[in-house]
Symmetry: C2
Subunit: 199 residues, 2 copies
């Protein structure tokens, strides 16, 4: 019942979740390259081979982190949209800003999310990213209905907005742009997007 009352039990209880949690912290602190399965195991207090039961390869853990990242990102965007005013332009600005901040606050995670060439053909894994795309595509669609944006495949238009914010965040993360210009650049990009994709 209690998660860490007894100092040792043979079965951890939920090692998989514990691994993901500790891995996320390690990812944030030292990057994906420095993340070591043995290190995670030590930190949790299990043997060095225990993680293998849940993630056959190191990359499996990284993939799981990336998938979780997409889901968290989607929630964050949803939240920002919900918190914005009824104006679609406000909602788009809010969504973009939320994405940008998530991406810079979780730089190593974003790198992972961008790197994950979906290995394996599992259909869900390939489309974990949909969790993050969906709210944006939804906004685009709504904007088209209200004639704020031009007609056309909403996924396509959404890709471009997503790519733009993703790119700005990547440039901030790599140090090519000062971090304190993130908000400004994001806003300009969204404004330009709205003008460029206007009906």
């Amino acid at each position: 019942m209690s998660t860490h009352a007894l100092p040792r039990r043979y079965h951890h209880g939920d090692l998989r979740a514990a691994l993901l949690e500790v891995a996320e912290q390690s990812l944030r602190e030292r990057g994906a390259g420095q993340l070591s399965l043995r290190d995670l195991a030590r930190e949790i207090g299990v043997s060095h081979a225990a993680p293998r039961r849940h993630f056959t390869e190191r990359q499996d853990l990284l993939d799981a982190l990336a998938r979780a990242g997409f889901i968290r990102l989607g929630e964050r965007i949803d939240g920002a949209v919900a918190a914005a005013s009824g104006l679609l332009t406000d909602q788009l600005h809010g969504a973009a800003s939320a994405f940008a901040h998530f991406a810079t606050e979780n730089a190593a995670l974003l790198e992972l999310m961008n790197a994950t060439k979906h290995r394996g053909d599992s259909p869900d894994a390939a489309r974990a990213s949909d969790a993050a795309f969906a709210p944006i595509v939804g906004l685009i669609r709504e904007s088209q209905v209200q004639h704020v944006l031009r007609a056309g495949p909403p996924e396509e238009i959404g890709f471009i907005l997503y790519a733009t914010i993703n790119g700005i965040a990547a440039m901030v993360n790599s140090g090519l742009v000062d971090a304190d210009r993130l908000e400004e650049l994001t806003d300009i990009a969204v404004d330009q997007f709205l003008r460029g994709a206007a009906p």
Copy 2:
């Protein structure tokens, strides 16, 4: 004189360049994560510690690769601009297309270029990326003179275009978008950019 005539010399001649060359190939074939200094040394035929004379840490090699990547990218963009018609819009389309193709043909390299949080404070290293930015910013500036684009800091406007193409390429590389849609998306993005940043 000849680069590999004699089977063995104590001094390789230009081990640094040889390392970069072989590393680039390894990067392309197996990604940065799988790149091993000892492996490169073996392939070249020197001892496992020889690379250390030229790259103190593994990351130094990766940084050098990224820097070289920015320079090659800049040349490629320059070439595309030169090959385009006199129309600025053609040149911008050409530059974007060249960037997009470079980025997808050199996926692992792009990842490196985006990841390189410029460690160290060497001023040149921080601005190797300028080699790639300069031609784009130049185009923006010229477009402003000819009233194809709105006034404003050209670097800022250039950032957004760069980020957009970078983002599209990243999404193609990660498999979120089909590779055969690269050209199409790039063109749409540039057209939207031109409309969005019009005077």
